[in-house]
Symmetry: C2
Subunit: 200 residues, 2 copies
């Protein structure tokens, strides 16, 4: 797996069937990732599962990495949408925090194995610049509600809370828990405890 610049579509689909092909490829990649992890993901198999030929695959993706890249971009976009929606309305910071956490849980719940497989895959990809923008975006969403609690270092607090949530949620979902409210109910006191202590 060569680590190259980045990975944008080689050719953008202009006809409807081309878009269907691209869609099929991404779906196939997702299915394979879920079932067999990164080690099971290879371009021949993707093409086979998608019901297209390798040639078609390489008409829209310059390399294997680009396919994972596309999946990751989708996942990120979905998460950002969820988080933005959570803080869209007017509400006290407490409520916003709660909604943010629930949004995060639901995001991972949708397809927990895919989410995890992608999380793990991200490390391999050189999406540096894009990743930085993505994380900045997340931070900018978390910052207002977190700041409302008055921690000394809001940015650090936001990052810590994000990491802490990710850890607990991933573990809970992998264990087979399905009740988002229950997970949220355990997470919130931890976050509150953190925030109370971090304001001088």
């Amino acid at each position: 797996m060569t680590v190259e610049p980045i990975a944008n579509p080689r050719k953008t689909p202009r006809q409807a069937r081309a878009e269907a092909t691209v869609e099929a490829i991404e779906q196939a990649a997702a299915r394979i990732l879920v079932q067999g992890g990164i080690e099971a993901l290879n371009t021949n198999r993707i093409a086979e599962v998608a019901g297209v030929s390798v040639g078609s695959l390489y008409q829209y993706f310059p390399n294997k990495t680009a396919i994972m890249g596309a999946l990751i971009r989708r996942k990120r976009a979905r998460l950002l949408d969820g988080l933005r929606a959570a803080v869209a309305s007017d509400a006290p910071p407490n409520t916003h925090m709660r909604r943010l956490i629930l949004a995060f849980i639901h995001h991972q719940t949708g397809w927990p194995q895919l989410a995890q497989a992608l999380d793990r895959a991200e490390v391999f990809l050189p999406l540096d610049e894009e990743t930085r923008r993505f994380e900045a975006e997340i931070l900018s969403i978390l910052l207002p509600p977190v700041t409302a609690f008055g921690p000394d270092d809001p940015a650090l607090a936001a990052r810590d809370i994000m990491a802490l949530c990710r850890g607990m949620v991933e573990a809970a979902l992998l264990r087979g828990e399905t009740d988002a409210e229950a997970i949220c109910a355990r997470l919130l006191p931890a976050i509150t405890g953190y925030l109370k202590a971090s304001s001088a």
Copy 2:
């Protein structure tokens, strides 16, 4: 990468130089994992970096997976030692918690990238039975101090705390933080918050 039964040394070294060879192989694998991740780990390269021949490598490890297995076993043993030491002496549960967290942080700090690479690698390995025993062991260490705080479901609390710590510590170390005390100081209130809320 074939997912096979398990992975014990094919031949146990009887002479000193043989042990040195095994050691060199494991060290090399660790170095490669740190520098290039799992994708860079292949048996030819391991042998090259270790300064031995592939043949020698396969005299002591039945397959590539077994090498990662050995590294993971080491890491786990080190973590268990650290945790056991943390709760060895008589002390109030508060102190024990603090020491446990510091032990965990130091464990990951030793070689954070290796720790992470191995964490990710674990998913690929079929160490199921061993993994279960390992997790049970960890739980048995955490349970006494956690129970002292009187949560409704001590086992769940212990698991949650573990996951939450892992998340925050990993993120902090990856960000480049080095002050274990500082990380611990932010983690403790979160844990306390969690525990306070989870006791009826």
